[in-house]
Symmetry: D2
Subunit: 336 residues, 4 copies
């Protein structure tokens, strides 16, 4: 951390900052510049809280220099994390396609869609049993019955399944049935849930919060790794901006940045990013081309009758087109 | 809801939309315009999911007409909700000042600050026992010990206390000790927590999510009211935007909009909005002037030693100035 | 446009809205719904200003139904616009690569870079002569001398050139020397400049404003088409959001939306979107994969000595890699 | 500027950065930290371009330390700038109210509104003659005829007038007729216009760009001061965010920040911020309470017939209420 002083800061004010730094057990190194003095803080272990300095007289700014995360950082682990779920591999060198309906609605629905997406090329099945909904009056998912349908899908098709967990209370249940446990956008900073996920024996897919910076997202993953679970898959699903032609704005540059900063795999959810069916295939192509390790796509055999997210769900034949296009892109680009 | 068709939508496409509307139990009313046909959906009870229509052939847009919330709406209750906490009144006609440290750090700290803010004019004491922190390595609050200190403060000073609840597991504890239960920004759409809050016998302060629209915020409150607890206080604390000179952007216009749309009281948290001490007093003045029913302000007697949020905590004498200024503004404006 | 009335709007208020609509020469069609009345406005030519209705008693909202643009709309011209610049073709079915330095700094610099990017696969050369700079103290471009260097590049390499115009005063000059006239982000709604561009005899590249919606962007293009110049290339270069790991957030979904709404070609500028060299190649791949008609990339042979935008300029060998990767992606995806 | 190196940067990489700094004529000061080396850049005059360093091997970040602006900075002029326009004073200690229609539509309209707002307490009249409009098909203002009506208003009522200039071509005309020359949001970074404004002999009101940071805004003002005109009034009018209940989000914290960083006066435009009539009075109160030096408000005697911005224009009696309320707030708060 670098403490930047006002131009007209007095020697007393500078001395007080130095004293505060040293009282915290760090080393202070004043750096006289052309216009003002800055003071470097050295010998800190881990991030320093700017708050202790920002309010002191004569202080203009506190500039963080090091990243706040440790375990998720590529500086702490150079090689990419590779995650195995059954026969499926997620991580560097692989393109993993996850598909299925927003919510499990019935066994027939789940099984029909699972077979179609498997045939088209999906390697993992998705489907919500516990659904976070903006309105208390909307369909909230089938709960345990949904989890059982997911198990049936796995048994029948051999596809591993990913499904969302919403709270500590139902975590054991979800952990029992799911192959990958999803933590949703709205829970990215539900720290109790993150701590519980740190103790889970299954991989966790952590979706980015609607307005989370990459630092905050990686710090949320840090909670899970710190708890003992290092199998975390990050999922970019669009952020909230002024843009109104898509539901969210897919932050495509998150992929190269996360891949540089962290060793964890990162996938793209084009369905929640676009929010409209006709954006899903183009966004999927972009996601793979930018370097994501996979995609998670909503598919429904009769989206106009879906109980949730129908407008963004692909028809099965569209998902087939998607698979062809992204595999071709992945291959073309890998060969370079 | 209004379904807007493409200019070149065929009669068959229009008919299919009409059929889908009627299959859902609503009434469809086609409206031929100059350039295109729109189709109104009538006789719906509550909000309609656009998803069922957005994907149909020939459909350009689905425009929601009615608001999704019911119980929180001023259309369902004309008169302002007034909330009583001990002798303190929150709601129309009153200006309620809440103050205290970000986190309870010790009994001395809590008691010292409580006495100072009471003397300056605060009517409710705030202080965190369970703290949501971006980093797993930061101070996480004193937990139960913090709650006990809060109880001691109430006993000694007579001030009711507000403190944050972070999960279902500790909800009972928080409910036992707090006079007002706070649900924080990162938990605004933690639906399990909202459902639990709906069963609480204490008022709930619901902070706005970092990137929540007012519709989403009011729908989160709707969860609580729908659960049976109608004592909800909304708290605007700034939203995340491109602006980088304050921690968040205080969305001052949320106050008149919420007051128009809902009967629930709304207060302002200038400390988290600005994130820097020198913005807190001006933002407090603005919050009262725009029509908020109260303020919640972070105050610390030695902010440079605070374990969290020191940079945005006011010194006690600054809080005194704040109280004078906002009371004067409230009175001047009320008299008009 | 649809005028939505309050639930408790009186018949008199509804009648007053109808009268206002008819006084404006339109047809009013009241639509009684389950909870409230809405009133459709028919027989309008072009967009209606919501302002005339929003303030009337009893009015809750005014919902625009039709798009505000005409000439740029795909509803007015079904086939894609194809633009020819010398032998180069921009538009559907082609991938056009534009490259060069941010600013022309000298004849040697321009010529060196032009030869390198041509060899790597660029078809058009870019380089700024008049530079919009945030600071009045920064390098402002070589002006006319820069334009002359561009002409020399074209003469020597055969590459058409694109360069930015900043004001009416220098428009004639730029029009004389450039093959494509660029209107920059900060001037997207400089309406005088847009009107002048409407009279230009050269194609115009219109960059999206930093916070422009697609409607506003297309309306800016509409100014140019309405003025008589239908050769407009749109260029997405990232928008401003809370995201801080890239200079701007590349709004990748703008490509499918623009391609659906308009017949104009759209290209991507990955250099200004990312703002850092290591994001440029991934964003370029994403841009081509999402369906853009081309890319405009900053390249410099010694970026660490560039007078502007050095940090985002690629080294020539990186641009070569970029060309290989995006051509492979374009081909792989086209074949599907 | 501080150059932050990667943890594993080699001594050679560090030396190369030092060499580059010194080749630019600055002094380099390496600062070994606990985890990594940073290198301070000293003895620079004015801002340094990060671009020259960001691309060098081993460099992680370049952190700017000093502000980029000079003349507008409070560090260069301690005392507030006070601007006199006829008898009206704008700046510290005064509250200046500006009001009038969005656009001048006729002499009767202008004169009617001018008399009403003067009577209510406005000290300056506003009205557009040249109007920047999103659509080429919207009313573009009366041009020179509008300016003449403004002159007539001044002559008759004694109120100074402010009106917008859109381009260099009509700058002389506007400068001749206006008492204050407004540069609009969309032109905040029209650098040709800013340079011309720097030579004007009239005060300039510079509105903040829709997505401008305060640094960019102050740098735009710097262009004008650098050109020789130090009478600049800043006007905050809301920024573009995800928030959709107001046209823009009034960034209230810009006021204390600008007042701290700069000596220039700053006013608030609540009409364009809110975009709806019922938000204008609350936002005006907030603007004055937060510490703005004035307000600019749209008022129309028959807003439902206004040719532009009718929905956000106050009725004259509402403006009267506004004046009473904000004067009372200003007085109450000043006395503290």
């Amino acid at each position: 951390m670098l403490i930047v002083m006002n131009q007209n800061a007095t020697p007393q004010e500078i001395q007080a900052v130095v004293a505060t730094i040293e009282a915290n057990g760090y080393t202070a190194r004043p750096i006289p510049g052309g216009e003002r003095v800055s003071i470097g803080i050295l010998n800190n272990k881990g991030p320093i809280d700017a708050d202790a300095f920002l309010g002191l007289p004569g202080v203009k700014e506190a500039v963080p220099i090091t990243r706040p995360y440790k375990l998720v950082s590529r500086e702490s682990q150079m090689e990419d994390t590779i995650i195995h779920v059954g026969d499926v591999v997620i991580g560097n060198g692989h393109l993993t396609l996850i598909a299925g309906p927003c919510a499990i609605e019935s066994e027939t629905q789940a099984m029909t869609i699972a077979k179609l997406v498997k045939q088209a090329g999906a390697q993992i099945f998705r489907g919500g049993a516990f659904k976070p909904r903006t309105s208390p009056y909307s369909f909230q998912g089938m709960g345990l019955e949904g989890l059982k349908r997911l198990a049936k899908v796995r048994e029948t098709t051999g596809l591993p399944v990913v499904t969302e967990v919403m709270d500590d209370e139902t975590f054991d249940l979800v952990e029992e049935y799911a192959d990958i446990i999803q933590i949703g956008t709205r829970n990215m900073q539900n720290f109790s849930l993150l701590r519980r996920a740190g103790k889970a024996r299954k991989p966790v897919m952590l979706k980015r919060g609607m307005a989370a910076t990459i630092d905050e997202w990686l710090m949320a993953a840090e909670y899970i790794l710190e708890g003992g679970n290092s199998a975390v898959i990050l999922c970019e699903r669009g952020v909230r901006t002024f843009v109104n032609h898509s539901r969210n704005t897919l932050d495509i540059s998150a992929v190269p940045v996360v891949r540089k900063e962290s060793h964890l795999p990162i996938i793209i959810d084009p369905s929640h990013a676009g929010g409209r069916r006709d954006q899903v295939i183009p966004l999927s192509r972009a996601g793979v081309a930018v370097g994501a390790h996979g995609l998670m796509v909503e598919v429904h055999h009769t989206p106009e009758k879906a109980l949730s997210d129908g407008a963004q769900s692909l028809y099965p034949h569209q998902f087939e087109t998607l698979c062809h296009q992204v595999r071709a892109i992945f291959d073309s680009f890998k060969e370079q």
